[in-house]
């Protein structure tokens, strides 16, 4: 076994050779260039940037300025050099060598008795009075400096001036404009990331259950029930949307008078509570009669319609109240604005959510009906249902997909948007009907699992930067576009991470809860959720942290946040300014890391 065979050594040799080739190619395509990075100009530039990055522009001072002039003739006059003024003892003075020179000649400027350890420009002042910067000077601890600089191309008959300016900071340090901008933008960034993370978490948590293999693996259903659900979903969505829309219309009649409005908000929940109380008994040993169950469903339906109405009313009230508060609260006006926005968001979302919920309810009722038919029908009837519903379901699904394709690619030819998809769907349904039978049901759980995973993977591979570009088009430049882009990306990334946590829970408690006769939903609530709370908290915090860092990139394309400022400073080559923003991001990330580790400790 362990004998060194020639074949083995040959394989190893080939492997090493292959690795060599791969890395050589890698070097070539990455343009690895070692000569360039050793050149002096590159290195001084790099050093300048690194030094600037380590000196963030955070503070500024009031300045006191000192100017020291010395005359110079450019070029040297025929009649000889002017006498240099004698320096006064204790006063700062400049010495030029040589005292006169040709344009563009190099001169050495020495300064004495300056304020120690200060910096400032060395200017050339031609007769026109403008300042031409020749160099920057920095005095040592004795107040002395010496620098050689090139004279500008300004020949003149007149005597010109070289002026050294040094500045001394006076008074206490103050936050610089850059620091104040950084502060306001980092706050914006943190809250932008918070909104994105919150929105994403709310959606990602339920989605993650659909993307968890261990929960979805065992979910199977008969073809008849799947097909009926496919038929019922669109119908449910239509019903839900129209009922919610109608209730919304009706709610406007109640909002005319404030008294009726508030009264309805108080009475509504009481009605809902009463209906739910009657229709949802705490515990039942006997299976209730079909009529009692129908009556209960009807009561719940009424309760749901009243809830939708109450939601509309509450949203409208919040919107009105918020708008009124916004103008009266002064500095806290943003709270009123928040309430008004919340109200508007709720009224916007009621109809789509009601539509989806109705789709789900009608779909699950139809699925249950299908299951019942599947169990009670036998012989020819069973086959008729199995094949008939299978083909019908496939056709409807094909039509829905065809409609989507038609919209996306703007095709109006009914052959491609109706006939062909319907035929293909019907064939698919037929094939499925042939493949499935009573002992081998449709693996609907795994289908949903793969579908969810595929959509999430596709969504996740689109960088937030690109989503931000689309969002900027939709909602305009600013942090809101950035928040939406980050949210979309976080939903995909979060769902994946969460679902992997669900997949790695201990199976024992799941089994135990199932064995008590719990429903699927109860199993999730009692066996799955307690196990995933700590990882969900830490992933959510981590996501927030990622979103803060990502918002720097989002800002580059106009998605708001600190990235906007950072990019501006980078473009202006103001590395000290940019450094302040980088520092702010680092501080926020470190703080959040600390907070999340504390939270995790508590939650485990």
């Amino acid at each position: 076994m362990n004998k060194a065979s020639p074949l083995k050594s040959l394989r190893l040799g080939l492997f090493v050779l292959a690795a060599l080739v791969i890395y050589a190619y890698g070097f070539q395509v990455t343009d690895v260039n070692l000569d360039e990075i050793q050149s002096e100009t590159r290195q001084t530039r790099l050093a300048r940037i690194i030094r600037a990055l380590f000196r963030p522009d955070l503070f500024e001072y009031e300045h006191e300025e000192f100017q020291v002039n010395t005359p110079i003739s450019v070029p040297c006059p025929a009649g000889g050099v002017l006498p240099t003024p004698r320096p006064t003892a204790g006063e700062p003075y400049l010495v030029l060598t040589p005292p006169c020179a040709d344009p563009r000649a190099e001169v050495t400027v020495e300064g004495f008795n300056f304020e120690p350890n200060t910096v400032g420009p060395l200017n050339f002042i031609p007769p026109s009075g403008v300042s031409l910067t020749m160099a920057n000077v920095e005095t040592d601890s004795d107040g002395h400096f010496a620098i050689s600089a090139r004279l500008p191309n300004r020949p003149s008959e007149e005597v010109q001036t070289i002026r050294a300016i040094t500045r001394r900071n006076v008074g206490a340090p103050m936050w610089s404009q850059n620091a104040r901008d950084t502060w306001s933008k980092i706050i914006e960034t943190v809250f932008l990331a918070l909104l994105a993370t919150t929105l994403a978490t709310i959606l990602a948590v339920p989605i993650s259950f659909f993307a968890a293999r261990n929960l979805m693996r065992d979910v199977t259903t008969s073809l008849a029930s799947t097909a009926l659900a496919i038929l019922a979903w669109p119908a449910g969505i239509l019903i839900g949307a129209s009922v919610a829309g109608w209730v919304g219309q009706a709610s406007r009649m109640l909002t005319a008078s404030l008294a009726i409005h508030v009264g309805a908000i108080i009475v509504g929940p009481l009605l809902i509570w009463g209906a739910a109380r009657w229709a949802v008994p705490p515990e039942e040993r006997r299976v209730p009669t079909i009529w009692l169950r129908l009556a209960r469903q009807a009561a719940l339906l009424v309760a749901v319609v009243i809830s939708v109405l109450a939601l509309f009313l509450v949203a409208q009230l919040a919107s009105d109240l918020g708008a009124a508060l916004r103008d009266r609260l002064g500095a806290l006006g943003f709270l009123g604005e928040f309430f008004a926005d919340l109200g508007d968001i709720v009224s916007l979302l009621i109809v789509p959510i009601a539509a989806l919920a109705a789709g789900a309810v009608v779909g699950s009722l139809a699925s249950r009906l299908g299951q019942m038919l599947n169990e009670h029908a036998s012989g020819g009837l069973w086959y008729t249902l199995h094949f008939g519903l299978g083909i019908l379901g496939g056709t409807v699904l094909g039509l829905l997909i065809g409609g989507a394709i038609g919209w996306l690619y703007e095709i109006s030819d009914p052959v491609f948007t109706r006939a062909l998809p319907a035929a293909l769907g019907g064939l698919g349904g037929l094939a499925l009907a042939v493949r499935t039978h009573a002992g081998r049901p449709v693996a609907i759980g795994l289908t949903i699992y793969y579908l969810t995973r595929t959509i999430l993977n596709a969504l996740r591979s689109i960088e937030a930067l690109i989503v931000a570009l689309v969002m900027v088009v939709w909602v305009g430049l600013g942090p809101f576009a950035g928040a939406l882009a980050l949210a979309l990306h976080s939903i995909a990334a979060g769902s994946k991470l969460y679902s992997e946590q669900v997949e790695s829970i201990m199976p024992g408690p799941l089994e135990a809860i199932k064995a008590t006769g719990a429903t699927r939903l109860q199993t999730i609530i009692y066996a799955v959720i307690p196990q995933i709370i700590p990882p969900y908290i830490s992933f959510t915090m981590y996501r927030w942290d990622i979103n803060v860092r990502m918002s720097t990139i989002i800002g580059f394309v106009g998605g708001g946040g600190i990235g906007f400022l950072l990019q501006q400073n980078m473009n202006l080559l103001d590395y000290r300014g940019a450094s302040a923003q980088i520092l702010a991001i680092a501080i926020v990330v470190a703080t959040m890391d600390y907070i999340s580790s504390r939270l995790r400790e508590r939650a485990i």
Binding site: E284, A515, T516, A518, Q522, A527, P530, Q531, P534
Partner: protein, 250 residues
């Protein structure tokens, strides 16, 4: 009470975990299931409440065909069969009381249980069960703060909350020391005697089988190789059940 008829379970089309197993259990029996690790004991117990679907055969519990039950019927069967596990299978991060209450999930209204609301009489009952297993003061502790023996007692309390007609115990004492093993087995015995609950219990140690069971069945590579009173397991039978090289311990 329970009738297992020609039950076969094949995993992934190749591993034959159970091979044509047939036996009946009458009400009030304490039946021990013995056999080597991997002989199919756990699979058999899980087939009875269909945590695992048998590949072939029929299981009838109290006149109801378990193998043919739909989801709703299966839940109504499961809630009458309590289950106790080798690794206790408590939800670690939930309180002891919630773990015990979760035994009622098959009875309570699903909508209310989602928001963790249980009827007052269930809560009262859960406290009584905890008192019965001597853990009344631990109700609000987290389950993972308890020792192994205490966790298994919570597991028993959870099974009792189901008002079970039968309890399936899958190696309930295999993770516990001998002293604790006897105390847990005594709880099961008490439930069997006082409440008349049928018990199916898989066990490793023959002295426990002799001490507590009034009937034993043995599995070897998925086949039923013994069915009778525990006293009949002599050296000859022992070698049939556990293989020729096996030696008796304990």
């Amino acid at each position: 009470m329970l009738s297992v008829q020609h039950v076969t379970k094949v995993y992934d089309g190749t591993v034959r975990a159970l091979e044509d197993v047939t036996f009946d259990v009458s009400k009030g029996q304490f039946l021990a299931v013995i056999g080597l690790s991997g002989s199919g004991k756990s699979t058999l117990l899980r087939c009875i409440n269909r945590l695992i679907d048998p590949t072939a055969g029929r299981i009838v519990f109290d006149g109801v065909d378990v193998t043919a039950a739909n989801e709703a019927e299966l839940r109504r069967i499961r809630r009458r069969i309590g289950m106790v596990f080798q690794h206790f299978n408590l939800v670690h991060r939930s309180s002891v009381l919630t773990n015990v209450l979760s035994g009622r999930l098959g009875y309570v209204n699903p909508a209310l249980s989602i928001i963790n609301r249980f009827p007052a009489e269930d809560v009262h009952k859960a406290r009584l069960q905890l008192e019965r297993v001597g853990l009344a003061d631990k109700a609000s502790n987290r389950a993972d703060e308890l020792s192994g023996g205490q966790q298994q007692r919570v597991g028993i309390a959870r099974a009792l909350m189901q008002d079970p007609d039968m309890i399936l115990a899958d190696e309930p004492v295999a993770s516990l020391d001998p002293v604790l093993a006897h105390s847990i087995m005594q709880y099961l015995e008490q439930i069997n005697h006082e409440d008349g609950v049928t018990v199916l219990c898989s066990l490793h140690f023959l002295d426990l089988v002799h001490r507590y069971a009034n009937r034993a069945i043995a599995l070897n590579q998925g086949r039923l190789v013994f069915d009778g009173p525990p006293d009949e397991i002599d050296d000859q039978r022992f070698k049939e059940i556990y293989g020729k090289e096996a030696e008796r311990v304990g």
